[in-house]
Structures are given as C-alpha cells and as structure tokens.
Subunit: 196 residues, 2 copies
Amino acid sequence: MPKTTAEAKEVRRDAILEAAQRTFAQYGYEGATVARLEQATGLSRGGIFNYFPTKDDLFLALAERDAERIGALWLEHGYEDVLRYIDESEHEWLGVYLEIGRRLRTDEDFRERWRQRAPEVDRRLAEDVRRLQEEGELRDDVDVETLGRFLGLVADGIAMNRAAGFPTPPFEDLLLLVGDAIGGPARLRTRPRRSA
Amino acid sequence: MPKTTAEAKEVRRDAILEAAQRTFAQYGYEGATVARLEQATGLSRGGIFNYFPTKDDLFLALAERDAERIGALWLEHGYEDVLRYIDESEHEWLGVYLEIGRRLRTDEDFRERWRQRAPEVDRRLAEDVRRLQEEGELRDDVDVETLGRFLGLVADGIAMNRAAGFPTPPFEDLLLLVGDAIGGPARLRTRPRRSA
C-alpha cells in the first residue's frame, strides 16, 4: 500500500505517537528532545514534524488520544474498568498521564489549547453519568458534574500514587469505597437525603 | 541575637525553605537553578549549602516539611481540614506538592531517601485512623492502611486537578462523597456488611 494513502498515514501517525509516548514517559516533556524523538520513532525531524508541526502539537495529540481512550473505556465498559486500567498501568504510561497535568499547570498556552478542544467523548460521558443518575445507579443529591469530577480525581489520585511507587488500596476495597461514595438511591435510601 | 544561636539558625533555615519553595514551585526541580535559589533566598551558594549540602537535600527537606504540616493538620484538626487546605491552596504550593510526586516517580535515589525517613507523624496518623475506626467514626470492613491510602489519594487527586486549573467538586459535596465512602457503622449499619 503506498505511503500516501490516508490509512498508511494513520498507521504512521499512530506509530509516531506510540514512540513519542515512551520518550515523554522516560524523559519528561523537556527531556524529550528532537534527537530522542528521532531515535525512538526511527524518523527524521522532518518525518515527524510532517505529522506534528511542533513538539507541542505532538504532545497535545498524545494527551488527546489518552483522554479519548479513557473516555471510551468508561463509556464501553464503565468506570470500574477505568480504575482497573489506571491501577494496573505501567509506570511508563502514568508518567505521561501526569506530565499532561504538569504541563496544564505550568504552560498557559498548552492549557488554552487543551480547553479549546471540545471532544465528543466528554459530552457523552456527561450524558452517561446523567443516565446512570436517572436510573438510580448513581446518587442524585449531587449534580452530574460533581460526580464526574469526583470520579476523575479519584482516578488521578490513583495514578499519582502508583506512579510515585506508593501502594494504592486493594482494588476490591477501592471499588467498595468509591461505590459507597457515588452509590445511588437504592443503596442510600435508608439514609437522610440532602438536596443538591 | 547572634547568628550562631540554634534559634537564629532555625529561622534562617525556615527562610531558605520558604524561598526555595517558591522557586521550585515556579520553575520545577530542574529549573530551580542555584542562581535562582540564590536570588530567591538572598544568600550565596555557600550560605544556602551551609544548611542544605545539595539541592536534593533542600528539596527533600521541603518535601518532609510539607508532609509533616499536612500530617499535623490532620491530627490536630481532622481530615476535613486537610481537604480544605489542599482545596484552597494556591497553585504555587500545589506545584511543589506535585513535584514531590514527580521526583518520587523519576528519581530512584530520591525515592529511596524518602522511604528511609520514618516520621513520627505517619505513625500517629495510622493510630488516629485506627482509633476512629474503633469508635465507629470510620468503617471497619476495610483495614486502616486502606482507609489511609484512600484518603491520601483523594487529597492527591484534588491537588492535581486544582493545580492543572480544572474545577474540583464543591467542597460540601466533596465532604459528602468522601464521608459516604469512609463512613462508619453508624452510617452504614442498614446495609449489608462485607468482611475485610
């Protein structure tokens, strides 16, 4: 298949992202020099920047791919599988995950670009949480955004601790604790309810 | 008071840590060069390294001070105040907090040194959680370490999201969710209990 087809381009693009992920994970954003990216991808600077005009574009694409993957996992398999995925992740991947947070914190341009993306997956996640709330699977005395943010910060906290080499709670206990935090009326109906 | 008294030394040491904290927060560990540390502290390289022989020692001391402060806050005012402290923190401080995690992740020597410290505050925290569990304030179907780790990872997740500029759940909702996760038998007694 000639390299110019859209499909071949997509394959090449994915291969660059995979190699870049390893490089960013190992060296951090600043340490992922063009020389190291060239070595990891087996491509020249021009070959890489043909797909991603700047290192920032490459990193942003990686961050977006990451967010899409986790979002898709959540939608297709549920939050439990997101937690399991993060809890079982290699340090390497977690390094990139956390590096995204660090760049959002320290780099205003990156933060602005990240905010401007409006991924379909985020919208679908919010819908999913709302549906679960309506079905009584999730508590409804706090709003959808709050539940989503809480689940997100638990996932981030696990990532941070695992990446630092600290023990995280046994997975079954984690599910029990998080389940009791977000549990719906079926679980909570015997307790006094609070208005949102 | 002559500069050689222990008290004056302690004051100077604290002043160096404060200035270093700002520098690490603003530039990250690698970016906190000796020149920047000199400028922030108003001391020469020799003046700083008289107190902290290496940059690593300085950073470790900062990380320890941070852990002690949060531990003391927890012991004296409870976990709610820890969450509030982190939730209300300035980005600047959170940057250092997260940088500690990053160095634990990427720097084996630092990780080893961190593990070798055995702070009294951690021991007292574990005791405190155990006491709360015995008093029925915390659930007892998961063990003390698990509860402590869960509370720690929630705090880390909040820090990470706030530092990245993302919204965290409204504080009262957060307390409600975390409270339901860790709540003791008094809250949970109507639900089927699981063995640990």
